[in-house]
Symmetry: C2
Subunit: 238 residues, 2 copies
DNA sequence: TATACCATTTTGGGATACCAAGCCGGTATC
DNA sequence: GATACCGGCTTGGTATCCCAAAATGGTATA
């Protein structure tokens, strides 16, 4: 009954056994985050079922979980890929500023130099030969791992979830080399402040970094709205 | 096939039609939050199925959603009611301090006097004749509604979810009249600061209120740990 | 031509059958 | 008596079937 052998291959190629539900959830999440299905697009349980070669039970479980991540939503009785919502993006920026700053303040008071080195190494791993995709991923992981250092599971999850919600929009954000370089410099400055244990400085820099990122994102999206709609993406105005 | 008519009655007595899934989810959540099922207790899908007169499909959906709320968790292959975890409670306090303070700062800059009056009225609705249960509920709603005033959906949800996770422990917290009176005074002082638009003062008072609340809760639970275990509640040490 | 109405199809919600893995109790062997 | 083994029972995971409601599309009528 499996029309898509790739689905089961993806499941079995991993050493650990992976349930259909985890499989569907992971693959569908990747499709959504990778914009293989456009924001605002309708989803039917039966289509997903056929697409991944799983029955409706794991499909429904995956949809329920992705709903809590904000990646899919209900449209009346049915499901839709969450549209890109400018107002929501701005609210998420405020939210992540609150939790990231709280996390970094905690980290400053119990900084572990070697852990910070690991994060700095992540930044170093990107150079001019690194694909744009990788820069995005590392830029997100920087914030996630930084929050992880706080040791607070809730701050960590909050940052991770916020970055997930932002990631589709970041993907579309136009970032030239100069902007990326500036962002990386800010990242390094934040790490330096943490190393010194200067919580106020780290918080101020992180806050400014997030606000700047938000402003660039919103401007960029507002300008590109027409192009996005042309690609079939639902973009909700702020 | 319905061994428990009460379940369907609860569904039909509401004017709006409620799906089985919502029904199971709501009732199971109430059972967990009301400590009708003890923290750490094992749950089987079949038991829930029989208890609420629903089939496994809505039961599984409800469990998946409650899992994201942190009220149930996986124990290997099965399900358990989330234990009360002291370390987690402390982390939640840090988390909610970050988001509540952020929310109240926003509210200060766009305070709506009438909305604040509504919240103050909530506080006023409690007097010496009000049952303890109601004081708890209003105390939680105070923080939730305050966050709601910020207009930021993510800060609001964060506070609401945090309060949900804390509520089982708050239920056990020993609060004498004097402690409740002090908490209410702090609530009013926070509202007063917001009315004046004094963000720093409001933030300071709110922060102190949350930290105090956390300290009382942790102490109280640590002292009561033996009693809790005697009641069959799993309590994970900090 | 526009619209109201009806038949058909689609779709999510729910129920149930089946399966494999794990748990538990009993038994036989040392 | 202790332990290793085995068989049944429980339980979550999955597939599939049924149903009601909603969407769809075509047709007849004003």
């Amino acid at each position: 009954m499996n029309p898509n052998p790739a689905a089961v291959n993806a499941a079995s190629q991993k050493g650990s056994p992976m349930s259909q539900m985890q499989n569907v959830e992971r693959q569908l999440r990747e499709m959504i985050l990778g914009l293989e299905v456009g924001p605002g697009e309708k989803l039917t349980e039966r289509w997903i079922e056929g697409r991944f070669g799983a029955s409706r039970t794991p499909v429904r479980a995956a949809l329920l979980r992705l709903e809590t991540e904000g990646l899919v939503g209900r449209d009346g009785r049915g499901w839709t890929v969450a549209p890109i919502n400018l107002a929501e993006l701005e609210q998420i920026a405020v939210y992540r500023e609150a939790v990231e700053v709280a996390a970094v303040r905690i980290t400053c008071s119990c900084a572990d130099a070697s852990a910070i080195d690991v994060i700095e190494a992540m930044l170093d791993s990107c150079d001019e030969n690194t694909p744009r995709e990788e820069w995005h991923r590392v830029g997100m992981d920087f914030h996630i791992e930084l929050a992880h250092l706080s040791g607070n599971e809730f701050l960590f999850r909050a940052v991770r979830d916020a970055m997930t919600r932002l990631s589709r929009a970041r993907w579309l954000e136009v970032r030239d080399e100069a902007a990326l370089g500036r962002a990386w410099a800010e990242h390094r400055a934040i790490l330096a402040a943490i190393r010194l244990g200067d919580a106020d400085d780290a918080a101020r820099r992180l806050s400014a970094h997030i606000v700047g990122s938000r402003d660039r994102l919103v401007t960029s999206l507002a300008n590109d709205r027409r192009g996005l709609r042309a690609r079939g993406f639902a973009v909700v105005a702020a």
